[in-house]
Symmetry: C2
């Protein structure tokens, strides 16, 4: 039986990443400190300096990632002085220049966003989930994240007429046709690039942990069992905890000792689950 490794490294990602091998990571999923956020814990990076600060890190990520791997970056610029900061846009352009393919931008539509009221804007209920790749031939396991088909199917697909079965193309010239018979006995459909998860509300020590569902979804989508997951801004350990539970190897890097301790506790706790999990699978 293959073993699963779960490593939590204390230190600055800018340094720790340099100690890792080339081309061995299948998925990087992370939520770095946003500019001018979390000043109390991370010190905060000024928006103007953010790109310059991030590029050496992404350079290392580019190096450790397999050609078939994927890099998911969760980030959102805040409003400052009535205006959205532009550093995330500049970061995307800079990452492209660094050699990354900007494959996709998923939207994380937060189910329960932060309440509040301002005269000039509404509550911010979404964040960017930027997908970058080294090559066009990356691994993607779409079937792993299929979702139940919409309610419309109940009414619409019960009875299929003969015309439905025979007609192929619509007349519009869009080249789009339909073959309704394909839809029989379908319960699940592929999702879109808008994902909807609730934010975590419980009082974790880490100030901005993303919900478990988020790394879980991307781990399902971009890795298979025993693949390697990396989170260079681990925080309280959500990513490696989920990765371990899902039977993936993982490495987390975190600069704050207190968070590392929290994360390690989680791992230990879930090690029991892991044993349970391991005993079920036969490899």
């Amino acid at each position: 039986m293959e073993n699963i490794t779960t490593a939590i490294l204390l230190g600055d990602s800018r340094e720790v990443l340099k100690t890792l091998d080339n081309n061995f990571v299948d998925l990087v999923v992370t939520s770095p400190p946003y500019a001018d956020r979390r000043k109390n814990t991370y010190g905060g990076i000024a928006p103007k300096k953010y790109v310059k600060w991030f590029l050496p890190i992404s350079e290392q990520i580019l190096r450790v990632l397999k050609p078939t791997g994927t890099f998911i970056l969760n980030i959102k610029e805040k409003a400052n002085n009535g205006e959205r900061n532009a550093y995330v846009l500049e970061l995307i352009l800079a990452l492209r220049k660094q050699g990354w393919l900007w494959t996709e931008e998923f939207i994380w539509h937060k189910k329960n966003c932060y309440p509040g009221k301002w005269p000039n804007r509404f509550r911010d209920s979404w964040e960017r989930l930027l997908q970058f790749n080294k090559t066009k031939k990356f691994n993607m396991y779409q079937d792993a994240v299929m979702t139940p088909i919409g309610d419309w199917a109940n009414g619409r697909l019960k009875k299929i007429s003969e015309t439905d079965k025979t007609r192929d193309n619509s007349k519009s010239g869009s080249g789009f046709g339909k073959n309704i018979s394909n839809w029989l006995n379908r319960n699940m459909v592929y999702p879109t690039n808008v994902v909807r998860f609730a934010t975590v509300c419980n009082n974790k020590k880490h100030s901005a942990a993303f919900p478990e569902k988020l790394p879980e979804w991307f781990i399902k989508l971009f890795t298979k069992k025993y693949d390697m997951v990396l989170d260079p801004f681990l925080g309280s350990g959500t990513t490696v905890e989920v990765a371990q539970r899902m039977g993936r190897n993982s490495i987390g890097i975190e600069i704050i000792p207190e968070y590392v301790e929290t994360a390690k506790t989680k791992i230990k706790k879930s090690t029991e689950l892991d044993t349970l999990f391991s005993s079920k699978i036969k490899v």
Copy 2:
């Protein structure tokens, strides 16, 4: 009684906009042809040339807009050769340089997005609704777009406890605790910066303008009656039709004669409604 003007101008926005006065428009809401799209009708603009093509237009928009006015730009980059185009990011940065404040990015989460399946990406179900302003003191009528409270909010608001209040107060100091009373005992809530409308697919004759609900929402949010609305890429006339129905003055510019005719027909038809509408209001 004040009259409502609804003007539809045939021509190229780059030229027609120059003939308009300074500082008289309250809201510009438009959906220009996206790069490499609508080749059959608008010829298509190459992604590389898009920013250069758009800046003279936005310069005129900046001129005709009141200091209290708002510019809403609906756009989305397509995927090309496995990668998202970056010209929209470059456009946002260029508009900032031109003097615009990038106030907000709304997400249009499309209820019914285009179908399809590809090995490397999911269906694209969102578009950008970029908000730009001349000054920080723009008009915003938030009460006009309040929505019925959803089940999610019922659950969430009931759970807001003393710990929630104290935690949030201590963290951000944003005065959240004071504002929370606004949220209790209400049937209506303010929306967020994610809006959800279905695309229209009932009209055979015209390639789809955006759905009526979209300009309607922004007209409610950023204008009051008798304000001036401008759409420099009118298409089949949705924006001015909605503006007229809502008792706003409006100007639409469209380069394709056939679309101008369609738009004018809509306006004429709705003039009867307008008369009805006028007779009901007392000014």
